[in-house]
Amino acid sequence: MSTAVYIFVMASVTYLIRMIPFTLFKKKIKSQFIRSFLKYIPYAVLSAMTIPAIFYSTGNFVTAAAGTIIAVVLAFFDLPLIVVALAASLGAFIAGLFL
C-alpha cells in the first residue's frame, strides 16, 4: 500500500471528525452515556498508547523508565505539558550517560 494512501485516509478521517460537528451540529448531546464515553475516551486512548509503549520509546528500558518516572512526578505536580515532555527526554538522556 502506498504511503500517500495512508496519509490521505488519516487526514480525511481526522478532518471529518472535526468538521462534521463544527459545521452541522448546533445542539448539545443529551445522552448521558455518550457524554460520559466522550469524556473518558481521550484518557483511555492516551493511557493505552503510552503503556507499555513508553518503555520502548528510547530503545533502552532503563533510560525510558527514568524518563517515565520523571514525567509522572512532574505531571503529578501539574507542570505544563511542554516542561513534562522535555524533562522526560532530558531524564532519559542523563540516565543514558550512566549506562
Partner: protein, 235 residues
Amino acid sequence: MNLSSDFSRGMTHGIPIALGYLSVSFGFGITAAASGLSVFEASAISATNLTSAGQAAGIDVIAAGGTILEMILLQLTINIRYSLMALSLSQKLDKRFTASHRLVASYGITDEIFAVCSAQKGMLSPAYMYGMILIAAAGWVMGTFLGASAGQLLPESVSSALGIVLYGMFLAIIVPPSRKNRNILCVVIAAAVLSLLFRYVLTAVSSGFAVIICAVSAAVLGALIFPVKDEAEQE
C-alpha cells in the same frame, strides 16, 4: 474589533502553543523517520493531520503495513474527542463564522487550540481562530520537518532520548486529571492493564486494533460504572 487585530491577537495567543508543538513534533519527526518515512511524508502527515496521538498511532500502522480499515477505525477512536471539542466550540462562534469559515477552521481544532479558544470570554471570530491555527500549525510542521531531517544528524544518545517526548506529553495530559478524579484514574488504569495484556499475551492482535479495543472497552466501562452527572463536571 476589526479583522487584522483579531488575527494578530489569535497569533499572539498561539505562540505558546506553537513553541510546545515545535518540540513535541520534533520528537514525532524523529519517530517517523525511524519507522521509515521520508522527511516529506512525515511533514505531510503533520500538515494534514495536526494531531499528536493520531499521527503517532498512524505511523505504526504504516510501518506495519496495516489495513485501511484499521487506519480508519484507529483514527476514529483516537480522534473522536475532537468531535466533542468541535461541538463545544460550535456554540461559541460569532455571526461572522459562515459555513465556509467553519469548513476551514475545523481543520485546526486540537486539544491546545480548543483549550485556549474555550477559555476566551465572548464569541470567537474566524480571524482570531485563523491567527492561532496558522502559527500553531507552522510550529507543528516545522518541528516535524526538523526532527525528520536533522534527527539523523543528532548523536544517537540525543535522538533516542527524544523518542520519549510525545509519551511524556501524553502523561502530562492523563496524570493531573487522574490525580483529581478517581473515576478517570480507574479508566486510565483499566486501559493500561488491557494494553499490557494485548502487548504480552494476546499478541496476535495488531497494535492499532489493540489500542481501539483497550480504549473503547475502558471508556465504555467508565461510562457505565461512573456516568458523568452533569455538564458542569465536563472539562
